[in-house]
Symmetry: C2
Subunit: 187 residues, 2 copies
Amino acid sequence: MTPIRILGIDPGLRRTGWGLISVVGAKLTYVDCGVVTSDGDLPLALRLRELHEGITRVVSGFSPDEVAVEETFVNKDAQATLKLGHARAIALLVPALAGLPVSEYAANLVKKTVCGSGHAEKVQIQAMVKFLMPKAEFKTADAADALAIAVTHANHRGAHALKKLHAPVAGVSGLAAARIAAALAKG
Amino acid sequence: MTPIRILGIDPGLRRTGWGLISVVGAKLTYVDCGVVTSDGDLPLALRLRELHEGITRVVSGFSPDEVAVEETFVNKDAQATLKLGHARAIALLVPALAGLPVSEYAANLVKKTVCGSGHAEKVQIQAMVKFLMPKAEFKTADAADALAIAVTHANHRGAHALKKLHAPVAGVSGLAAARIAAALAKG
């Protein structure tokens, strides 16, 4: 089976997290992750250009097959929502310009897929990402979130279903699968 | 004096208006205007790509020297604010990628500059744009708004001040200047 490379993106104007995984069947392998930042002292147009350049570097450097972007959580702070919308537009645009399919996932679906609960804390997401892909090395919550988004897409694309995470499947050792099942049951 | 070409952009996810004017001193000349649309049936990433392609065509086709983009009006509908933010990011990004200076203007400053009142109606803006540049031909309010944004930038860039619109100046005939002054006084 040919591996599918999935790029997850967690957009933010100041910090946009990205995480790349490789998927063969149900086996998830960590490839790389990081954060693209923009300088808060620059005008908005230049900040968006920085994000565009950074995400373009990631997309052309790693040549993902599919891209998944987190949907913006619309909160009461309209200005914050607007800023996120600006960053998110760039995260959607760059892979679309490269002709890649882009999927969008709500934050609570990402949490539910990875942790079993739509209300999981950031630290739980990080623990589960590390758990699913022990080689994953992330320095920031944004990068871990981006990996979680990629994992979510791996489980929802095509015939893949959420329950795959619950059952012992190829590529996840029996112990890990059992621990995942236990963690999900608790969640 | 070398003419300065100013591109005004009124961003919107469904329709992004654009208007190009040429400025020599205080003389404003209409060049062209139009609307870039995106197909509401497409996924968001592809809609943003459509806007990107359309605005890129305008920027590369007309080679403006400076670009002005309307600031998003943050209203109570957070989802609508978010959509506008997505479109606006593309309107800011494209000229920034082309290395052009991008200025941002609040909607009420545009209204105040062009009509003399921050609460002017769309039809007043259209009338004043037509008044300032009789050759302007716009089919939509979005294109007229974009021209108004370009006019606003023409009046606020460098040493240009709002009062220029009030006084009879080179490039605006005495009658027009007087009528503008009268309209502003009423506003």
